[in-house]
Amino acid sequence: MLRVEGASFEVKKGRKKLVILDDVSFSVKPGELVVITGPNGSGKSTLAKIIAGIETLSNGKIILNGQDISTKDCTERARMGIAYSLQAPVHFKGLTVRDLLQIASTSGETFCGENLAEVSGLLEKVGLDSGQYLDREINNSLSGGELKRIEIASVIARNAKLVIFDEPEAGIDIWSFNNLIKVFNEMRKNSPECAIVIISHQERIMKMANRILLLKDGKIAFDGPSGDAMKMMRDTQ
């Protein structure tokens, strides 16, 4: 499904080069749930953005279903079946929740949820009442938790082959964490071929994973089954 080969990402800071990702390689199979974890600044979000096509690799390759997509932009990757949930949801003046979910469910090659019932259903899945939210503007009148849930709904709407969530638990303090876990479980049940990559620090999310990737200083420090990772992390604490 997804192969990341020797991925490196550097930025210039004054005269210095800052290495954010250093020769990162891993793969994700269809139906697999992989959690990427690691300390702040270890390169997790950058890695997610590189897979989604928002940032461009300095070196290396991204392969999706055997095809090198390293030079494809994020629109092309979205149309090829990659969905990406941002850590910090974006505000829009004028665009409503309905607009966003309709764009998400009808654009590109993936297609689902074109009608009101399905768009409403997406909101119900993330614990929001569609009657109250569909015609709200996606602006700062919504709380951080509400925006995050709408962000997650927009990604579920994609019905994608590979879904990347960047810290989905961040900001959803009011919404019970159980609902989020339920969303992931439902996705796995309803789309058994869909690969899910979650950037998270939450133990309950890590326990759901088939595999854990631990990033440290832009390198993979561990890549293995969830149980082994949890044990290793407990031992090193």
Binding site: D73, L86, L95
Partner: protein, 307 residues
């Protein structure tokens, strides 16, 4: 519908939503002449003598009625100033749908100056919708609307004024004078492109206690177009005034926003907000990760913003 060609019919639909003879009172002005006029029991439309325009007299207690007064210009080089005066009785709730569309395929500028004056009776509400657009490969499509509002005690006016596309030059002036407990909401949407110029000046005089004005202007300027926006709220009583001007600037456009507040009473509460900026990159990125191209994402953001 009436005696209009396809272009005129399309323009009529675009600026006023009219596709046939509407219910209620109407006056259709095409190329400087009224081609259809109808008064209802409670809304009387009378042509002015000695100058272009109509008087629209609305009886007390008229509720739920709509009057359509669209203007179409398809004769290149036509220049007109039209004076429409609205006398709205007490305790009314009415909707006025205006709007002007110009099609110009000739070498001379077509100009429509529409001067609308509203006298709104006590405890009445008027909704006013005005849409402007221009099409055709010819010379200038120029629209200069003036809207004056005199709001009696306890009355309310809600204005939605849109300039959607193709207007080469516009000088917009909106003035409101509010008595006790009167309210006005002014929503303006301006889109300019090419080398168009648009100027909008809004002046609200809050004269009576508990009067209020809310001005919300959203504008998009692209290509080499220039927009000049100013709002001036004058509070002479215990009142509330708010002006919000938001603009998206693109390409080589220029946007100038000057909101001004003038409090002349210690209980006048006046606020202004103005923001000009390009389309945020994170907005584009979010929509692109949903499968839209950059161009499609831009269009969605602009459409939403001007909605």
């Amino acid at each position: 519908m009436m005696d209009l060609d396809k272009i005129e019919r399309d323009l009529m639909r675009e600026v006023s939503g009219v596709t046939g003879i509407p219910e209620g009172a109407y006056n259709f002005r095409v190329n400087g002449k009224s081609i259809g006029r109808h008064s209802s029991d409670k809304i009387d439309i009378i042509p002015k003598r000695g100058k272009s325009g109509i008087d629209i007299r609305i009886a007390n207690n008229t509720r739920g009625e709509i009057a359509h007064i669209p203007v179409i210009i398809s004769a290149s080089g036509l220049k007109e100033a039209v004076y429409n005066d609205f006398y709205i009785g007490d305790n009314c709730e009415v909707t006025i749908i205006a709007g002007c569309g110009i099609y110009n395929c000739g070498a001379d500028d077509s100009i429509h100056d529409g001067i609308h004056t509203f006298y709104v009776g006590k405890n009445s509400t008027v909704y006013y919708i005005e849409k402007h657009c221009g099409i055709g490969p010819g010379a200038g499509k120029i629209l200069n609307p003036t809207t004056k509002l005199f709001l009696s005690e306890g009355s309310r006016a809600e204005l939605l004024m849109e300039q959607i596309k193709g207007v080469d030059s516009a000088k917009r002036l909106t003035e409101a004078e509010l008595k006790k407990d009167a309210q006005v909401v002014i929503k303006e949407r301006l889109f300019t492109h090419g080398k168009q110029l648009a100027e909008s000046k809004i002046v609200a005089n809050l004269l009576g206690d508990n009067s209020s004005v809310d001005i919300v202007s959203r504008a998009v300027a692209r290509d080499y177009s220039v927009q000049d926006f100013s709002s001036h709220i004058i509070g002479k009583a215990k009142c509330w005034g708010h002006s919000e001007c938001d603009a998206i600037i693109m390409d080589n456009a220029r946007v100038n926003a000057e909101p001004a507040l003038d409090a002349q009473n210690i209980d006048a509460e006046l606020i202004h907000e103005a923001a000009i900026g390009k389309i945020a990159n994170d907005q584009l990125m979010k929509l692109m990760t949903l499968g839209l191209s950059r161009r499609q994402a831009e269009a969605q953001i602009i459409n939403g913003f001007l909605k």
